[in-house]
Amino acid sequence: VPEAIRCVQCGICSYNCPVGIDVRAHARLGKPVQTSHCLSCGECVRRCPRGVLRLEINPLFAELLPGLV
């Protein structure tokens, strides 16, 4: 679940995504990354220099499906 107000679109998140998800595009729109390709590795969350992103467990599935804020 991204928080658009913090994001300055630097793209560190997209660059570091091991499976090539364009996390930045999600951050721009404030939309969570919910694709099944996401490994929820947390690399984007860890690398973001502005604390835009956060891992969230999707309550619908209660599995480790990530919602990236």
């Binding site: 658009a4 679109q9 630097c10 560190i12 660059y15 721009r28 404030g30 502005r50 604390g51």
Partner: protein
Amino acid sequence: MPGGPLRFLIIGHGIAGMAAAKAIRRRSPKASIAILTDENHRFYSRPGLAYYVSGDIPESQLFTLPDSLYRDLRCSLIFGRAVRIDSNQRRVRLADGSLLAYDALLLATGANAALPAITGIDMEGVVTLDTLDDSRHLLKLARRARRAVVIGGGITALEIAEGLAARGVETHYLLRKDRYWNSVLDPAESEIVEAGLAHEGVIIHKQTQIESIEGRRGRVRAVVTSNGQRMPCNILGVAIGIRPRIDLAQESGVATDRGILVDETMKTNLPGIFAAGDVAQVYDPHQDAYRLDSLWWTAEHQGDTAGANMAGDQRPYLRKTPFNVTRIGGLVTTIIGDVGGSRPDSDVKGIMRGDSENWRHAVDCIAIQERNGSDRIRLMVGQDRLVGALVMGDQSLSRPLQHYVLGGTPLGELGDLLRRQPHAALDIMRERAAPSLTSIGAGAAW
């Protein structure tokens, strides 16, 4: 307008200009929109430059918008430099002599690094960090440089210093007084950042300023400090503040002070001409004063407001609480609302990038601190509400605090608890604010 669609011209291709183009297109499907830029690039993320310099991202990552966006927006990009606005004829003259006609004009020319008045400041090896070309230049020099000296304060000076250190250049950072960013950070916070810098290999020299630059064949070779020490270096990084780019406006009769003066609807004194972003000095009715900001989020919001009003709205720009998140000394730091005193910063003249003049607005409040290694929280508590917060390191509380400061949420019984048992109060804030934080002032969707 008789005969054909309205013509909108935007000078400047930063976030303010881009936001304006979008706002105009949303309201005027048929208008012609053009962006004039003196940089030979399509839109890129300026805040991302720091991470490009440090090697966190490759250059390609800076180009955040697909080329198709210009097509979708039906917005043309013109590379050139404006030299004069003829506000009577509503035309802009470019350096190559050509003329661009407009019905409404936005000046979003941004700001440039200010340079100290020292002989040799024009030599090869002096670097600033305003643009993509600056970053490329800096990286090119860093490949061969052995030593660098960086002067200035605030975020940009550290972006240059940390970037150069990350590129393997021996980097010396000079502070005029005895600590970093004394206008916004308190002594303990400065210390944490300085420790972070040292850890990254940046060598800090306090009570040191440069007196002169020594060069050979037009290249920087050393700087001499005011206490007579000669420091050999190939690069001199400068970030002592920024100057809004007001020359074009000034020469064309647009009212200026430190920036271009605009009213609450982002209008200048001349009909059909607006300004937004770093260049705009915006009237704030609450303080009865014109204020400069140099924040990305503010620039986007101002550009959006200006664009809407150029297309016929009468929307006032409502200054929001200044807010910035950045990485200094390797630590993510969030600054919300009023945090500083009214001290001037000894390493900066005027304003710098990522700065708001409101952070220096003095307030009556008490500071509560939580300390755990390099994690630190400072709260400025006003009457029944939080007026500012600074969160360094661990960011788990920055969202809840943001909620309280930006939302102006009354503290109620939490105010008392904060004074008596700050940790307990912070825990309650964390719990309360956990859900539904999504809508705080999110920028216009792209």
